[in-house]
Symmetry: C2
Subunit: 341 residues, 2 copies
């Protein structure tokens, strides 16, 4: 994105054209992933003919697509040959261990994108035009896809979050992972502390993904499942820590406070809650990614938002938490906000 707030170059209509055609960038990346272009480029030699052969595609189409990807910065072209940019080598070649290609399935899911065809109407009414409560409709199958595909995006956050939550704590502990999704955050706690026992809470079909990940990580014997809605199931407990990752932003403040109170009751005295959130500055226009995330909440939820630290602090305090600390996760748009009971 552009720097925003007036930090522009010379006055040309370029930015207007760029925005009106920005959707082409999304389509180009999605098509390239679907056609396996980034594997073809990685394997070389990188001429149009061999990429087209690998992708079972036309030379005209591949040449224009790869030129476009080069213009976007996710390929490099030299003497007519395409090769990886640092970004595409690390994050788009499916052979890379840090490949993010799978997240295109969730972020590019037509159900997530369709609301943008009705954005004016959404802005008028102030809430998603999705059926029911949109992405927070009970048992919405989108969260199975989220759990299955978005793990690579969360992977860099897992270690830092685990360290913040454990705070060096090494004895026996019980951890509740609310909206566990892929389960990676709770699993990381179990990996970092062999005496930790983790309960994953999410819709039952989602928890199957988490359990499979727990199995892969070798911690399934310390991984329990609590299927259902965070607002309805009995949490059990008491817990030493509750993880609340990428969850509060889906709801309005009273709903968040209600949930935080329920969490507070399920915590052992001195226990802590850790939210992982997109936390924009109080100006709500910086940093770019956390601030822009409000748009996703506008289009997919009835009343969610990217909350500022002041708003989160107010909610935490109202629910009985104190000693709040915020930990930005480097190279990510995420912040861990810790509160103590």
């Amino acid at each position: 994105m552009h720097p925003g707030n007036g930090a522009e170059g010379p006055l040309t209509p370029g930015l207007v054209f760029e925005m009106l055609q920005a959707y082409q960038r999304t389509a180009a990346l999605k098509a390239a992933i679907d056609l396996d272009v980034f594997r073809a480029v990685g394997e070389g030699p990188g001429d149009v003919a061999s990429i087209a052969r690998h992708c079972s595609a036309s030379a005209r189409g591949i040449r224009i697509l790869c030129d476009f990807l080069t213009i976007c910065g996710v390929l490099i072209k030299e003497d007519g040959y395409y090769r990886h940019s640092p970004t595409s080598a690390a994050f788009l070649d499916p052979r890379s261990s840090s490949s993010l290609a799978s997240i295109a399935q969730f972020l590019g899911n037509p159900a997530q994108r369709e609301p943008y065809d009705h954005l004016a109407e959404i802005v008028r009414t102030g809430r998603s035009v999705m059926p029911g409560d949109g992405n927070v409709e009970p048992e919405n199958p989108i969260w199975v896809q989220f759990a299955e595909t978005m793990a690579p995006m969360m992977a860099p956050m897992v270690g830092p979050l685990g360290a913040v939550v454990l705070e060096g704590h090494s004895g026996p502990m019980r951890v509740l992972d609310i909206a566990a999704g892929h389960g990676l955050f709770g699993i990381e706690i179990a990996k970092q502390n062999p005496q930790a026992r983790v309960t994953g809470l999410d819709w039952a079909p989602v928890l199957r993904v988490a359990l499979e990940n727990a199995r892969k990580a070798g911690v399934e014997d310390r991984y329990d499942m609590l299927p259902g809605s965070a607002f309805e199931v009995n949490f059990g407990g008491p817990y030493d820590a509750v993880l609340l990752t990428n969850f509060l932003h889906h709801f309005d403040e009273p709903t968040c406070v209600g949930l935080l109170k329920k969490i507070h009751k399920a915590l052992r005295r001195g226990g802590r809650v850790a939210t992982l959130e997109f936390v924009p500055n109080e100006d709500r226009i910086s940093p770019q990614m956390p601030a822009a995330f409000s748009m996703t909440m506008l289009t997919t939820t009835p009343a969610g938002d990217a909350y500022t630290l002041r708003e989160l602090t107010a909610m935490y305090n109202e629910a009985g938490f104190g000693g709040l600390t915020a930990h930005h996760i480097p190279m990510s748009p995420h912040t861990v906000v810790m509160g103590h009971s």
Copy 2:
């Protein structure tokens, strides 16, 4: 867009997220234009409540939309109040004489955007999935909308193109404007040279738009209409100059050469043809806008392209033209290429 060809900052997945969500930028700008946000911001005072009132929209929706537009660089936010950025003041406020808001109707037309939902298939087959010949299907009504809405985008090109074509020529002359569209290019010749007589060629419903513009410019008594296909109608003539603006890119090279030969025959000896084109460098990845335009031709035509100067020169020469000159139009993605018969 990003600078491309490896000129990146530190290695983060930010660019991948940005591309996967770039479509949100298009939707936000379109929604803001549809809701009349830029007029509301221009009229002030710029707080969420008054913008929401002007736009008959929710406060939540307007706040999130305006924050997003600020992040994109087309508004400025200070102390909770939104005001115009230089870009939005000049090009998005409908009260501005250089407003480009109408071009969102053409560039945002669902018929133009829909092919991008099938981009992988288009790359496979190498041609538009639009019905028939896509945008170059005879009598495609898209060109009426183009003529009606895209004039503001072309306005800055009109004067420079007129000057290049006239080359100081002030006597009687006849000019054929092929694919006249809004007609502004031919009309400009008539304005700069009171002895010039212009014939606009386009589909009949499109020519109505051109004639109306000729009337507004006070040159309708020197504006003739030649309705039909450039490939089929008899050009008449002979002409002193032929304008071929934003046309060749829709077709493959043999088709372009065929048309250029037909033009050559319709020109007086010593006459000239002037194409206005997106002309990328030979690397086809720079400058950004002309190079990226190939993608639009891939998705909307069977075989069009943004041709390089070498390719255009070869076509011109094959059709019998010589003395080629290229004139980049400053602050625009366009180049005028002149050839002499």
